[in-house]
Amino acid sequence: MAQSAEHVLDHVELFRGQEYQQMLEKKKIFENARDPAEVERIKEWTKTAEYREKNFAREALTVNPAKACQPLGAVFASVGFERTLPFVHGSQGCVAYYRSHLSRHFKEPSSCVSSSMTEDAAVFGGLNNMTDGLANSYNMYKPKMIAVSTTCMAEVIGDDLNAFIKTSKEKGSVPADFDVPFAHTPAFVGSHVTGYDNALKGILEHFWDGKAGTAPKLKRKPNGAINIIGGFDGYTVGNLREIKRILELMGIQHTVLADNSEVFDTPTDGEFRMYDGGTPLEDAASAIHAKATISMQQWCTEKTLTFVAEHGHDVLSFNYPVGLSATDDFVVALSRISGKEIPEQLERERGRLVDAIADSSAHVHGKKFAIYGDPDLCYGLAAFLLELGAEPTHVLCTNGNKAWQEKMQALFASSPFGQGCQAYPGRDLWHMRSLLFTEPVDFLIGNTYGKYLERDTGTPLIRIGFPIFDRHHHHRSPVWGYQGGLNVLVKILDKIFDEIDKNTNVLGKTDYSFDIIR
């Protein structure tokens, strides 16, 4: 018996003991297990070009996708407003999933309610669920706003949110003037980034365009302010704080829309804050008067930016700006739009990032990377790698489309390091597996699920993306701004150095290169 009270062994070590190993070996006769030689043969076959070809010929099956569904993005955007409770109309299991998913990434509570529709609602529609649900949520959780979105169930049966909310208000579920913006967010269209877009547009439409016919439309009186939209982002806590710091340094009047940087980073001090921070509702409304609206992520805000542009704003979008040039472009744009100078402090921060790149780029230069993630994240990371002299050989985006692919290829074409790099829209991580076997790279950048690829292909994983379940707290540090660029650079360098050490640490064999200075 290996277990003891002095040194308690858990799953990491316990089952390696002889007793358990023998037990598991004996279990095999009941499993009707495959011949190990056959398993080995198929395993090797999956590494071949032939398998890759069959794998890429898939038309219907998706294996290990790097995307989630719309309502997740809607919930993520909604909690970025002051005392706002996301309310997802449809089956309740979905909400349990979104809350778990967000909590596992942020290590924070995630509050959201469901209208708990079941079979009878599938037949008769979910109006009663909406009416009761709004009344209960309003009484129990004292929100200032309830932001409604939908699961695929409600979408398939065709529930009409606008009519349902109106009826619910007439029945007294919530006061007539209580803010209940809504967005249809079918899971079978787009991905979580689409849901972010739809929900945010729904909320802005609500405040700007007359609250579903219950209030006069706002009339825009342009001022000098700038609105910022972060988009769906696993680093929202660190990133939005960094963006606000930059805007404050520059003295720019601004509103961050869907600012969930506080609610996903509350202190442990004896009090549970179900709501914290968030864009004040008055600010969401008065954001209509801004001079310009900047989206940090184009593909998270396509509809929202069109809507904003129609209201007379200058609009500008970035693709998850990471690194030197992208941050330069961002601050130059801020300066141009606002007419404010770029302060010396930012210039010094820029200089420090250049300094760091100059110090370390020899270790990154020429290295090949595979990247996967959301469309803008992929673009931003690829651009930064090119800037470091690295090659983003495979860039794969399950929720990317043709336009994304063209933009990626244009980026590759713009750099000598981008020659031979390829963008893969609509592909999944099982495709990536084939790519890594047939065209190996030095490093992989992706979310937690990349660890399966790291195990199978031996490509070291640098964890950047969403969700990150198996490493803690990185979302608290920015990856945007010059400071964020430095953080990303350090993350990449740490992995590179760890790998060199790992490959040179055999005593008396390879450890001549086990250098103490690198």
């Binding site: 062994l9 089952f15 299991g93």
Partner: protein
């Protein structure tokens, strides 16, 4: 703290009743009436806990429950390692449940084992409009070609499937025939069915009956030589290796485990189960259906057991041995003796640190009652418990065998109620899920996830008990809980005293 030990049960009862009344005040009248039936203070001697259960959740209250898909794909079917489980419908359900339940298995993932892969038909709008059966046919073909060593396929229906009228049964039959009789199991576990995960368990059990048991010859020759000591572990999902630290005890007492349902399980094991002499059932809630079916159809008796904590383990080993001859009965005693030094050492080390500490639980299938004994073995007191998706037979078992007089009982509790209860009862530990974890930690209350073992485990068996004890100690006695108030803030007045 441990208020429960410093007051009489009558006082506790009165306080808990008052607390329920207070919580109900927040609701609109109709909701208060409905919720009142799910909250109670247990009275010793009663046959159940006096709460209604397995009833629809109320819209908008922030129920903690999941859905039928979660019960089928996430719980019952997902852990079967050599079958491919397709999340059939839009991408989200499979994505959010991908690898998060920690159903351990041994196998070559992606080649002969598939538990931690996310297979989905990733429905698009056109699949909703024109139906998804054609896509499903293609999905099955592509699995067949790219994952040739799979031993079978299940189709786990998401909400739209049942709403758009797809005929996944016809597709399954046709493809099974085409592939020479391959096991393909359509499961109608759409998320809107039923009121929680529970119906998903039932549907998944029925799918085993209809699409596996009905396709095998019960009198056929087994692939191994039967013995009089063959048993099957039913309802252990091998979370963090739970089924392994259970199996080892059963084998040490002389039994032979021929199947694990479903953690680290395989299709062959499911098919062989009708050869078992006894089905031993851990998670009654999720697998009593198939156990009853096997009893009726194949005459296999079943018995419930509990492998949390030494008291219940010993009781269970003896109960299981009671179905066999003296050799096994002696085996059970031998196992209990073998582990006694470990148990004594664990209790000697941890009980002094945990004695008198109070616990509130809110979990799924069996744990709201099954873990109570393990806490009591460490001198701890469970002062409140409830089921996410229990039925009345769960509350009967809880009342008759587990909870003490005056325990607060909450069925299908929601965020608001649970927070208020914990705030007022100030337990030393809360055991619940990921959605609750950070809420209570923010409040300064130590917490352990009791679905996933908070990424630790196993907790079953004697080896697991040592880990359980260590984990509860590290949660409760972590120095961080003394630091939640900044030193320059005045010492907080205990909330309970303030409230009363």
């Amino acid at each position: 703290m441990s208020l429960a030990t410093t007051r009489s049960t009558a006082e506790i009862r009165a306080r808990n009743k008052e607390l329920i009344e207070e919580v109900l005040k927040v609701y609109p009248e109709k909701t208060a009436k409905r919720r009142a039936k799910h909250l109670n203070v247990h009275q010793a001697g009663k046959a159940d806990c006096g709460v209604k259960s397995n009833i629809k959740s109320i819209p908008g209250v922030m129920t903690i429950r999941g859905c039928a898909y979660a019960g089928s794909k996430g719980v019952v079917w997902g852990p079967i390692k050599d079958m491919v489980h397709i999340s059939h419908g839009p991408v989200g359900c499979g994505q959010y449940s991908w690898g998060s339940r920690r159903n351990y298995y041994v196998g070559t993932t992606g080649i002969d084992s598939f538990v931690t892969l996310q297979f989905t038909s990733d429905f698009q709008e056109k699949d909703i409009v024109f139906g998804g059966d054609k896509k499903l046919v293609k999905v099955l073909d592509e699995i067949h070609e790219l994952f040739p060593l799979n031993n079978g396929i299940t189709i786990q229906s998401e909400c739209p499937i049942g709403l758009i009228g797809d005929d996944i049964e016809a597709v399954s039959r046709a493809k099974s025939k085409e592939y020479g009789g391959k096991t393909i199991v359509p499961v109608r576990c759409e998320g809107f069915r039923g009121v929680s995960q529970s119906l998903g368990h039932h549907i998944a059990n029925d799918a085993v009956r209809d699409w596996i048991f009905d396709h095998i010859e019960p009198d056929g020759k087994p692939k191994f030589e039967p013995t009089p000591y063959d048993v099957a572990i039913i309802g252990d999902y091998n979370i963090g290796g739970d089924a392994w630290s259970s199996r080892i005890l059963l084998e040490e007492m002389g039994l032979r485990v021929i199947a694990q349902w479903s953690g680290d399980g395989s299709l062959a094991e499911l098919e062989a189960t009708p050869k078992a002499k006894l089905n031993i059932l851990h998670c009654y809630r999720s697998m009593n259906y198939i156990s009853r079916h096997m009893e009726e159809k194949f005459g296999i008796p079943w018995c419930e057991y509990n492998f949390f904590g030494p008291s219940k383990i010993a009781e269970s080993l003896r109960r299981i041995a009671g179905y066999f001859d003296d050799k096994i009965k002696e085996g059970a005693e031998r196992v209990i003796e073998k582990y006694r030094p470990l148990v004594d050492a664990v209790i000697a080390k941890y009980r002094p640190r945990l004695e008198g500490k109070s616990v509130m639980l809110y979990v799924g299938g069996l744990r709201p009652r099954h873990v109570i004994g393990a806490y009591e073995d460490l001198g701890m007191d469970v002062i409140g418990t409830g089921y996410e998706f229990g039925h009345n037979d769960d509350y009967q078992r809880t009342a008759q065998h587990y909870v003490k007089d005056s325990t607060l009982i909450y069925d299908d509790v929601n965020g608001y109620e649970f927070e208020r209860f914990v705030e007022k009862l100030q337990p030393d530990l809360v055991g619940s899920g990921i959605k609750e974890k950070y809420v209570f930690q923010k409040m300064g209350v130590p917490f352990r996830q009791m679905h996933s073992w908070d990424y630790s485990g196993p907790y079953h068996g004697y080896d697991g008990f040592a880990i359980f004890a260590r984990d509860m100690d590290m949660a409760i006695n972590s120095p961080v809980w003394k630091k939640t108030k900044a030193p320059w803030k005045k010492a907080p007045i205990a909330k309970l005293q303030a409230a009363e």
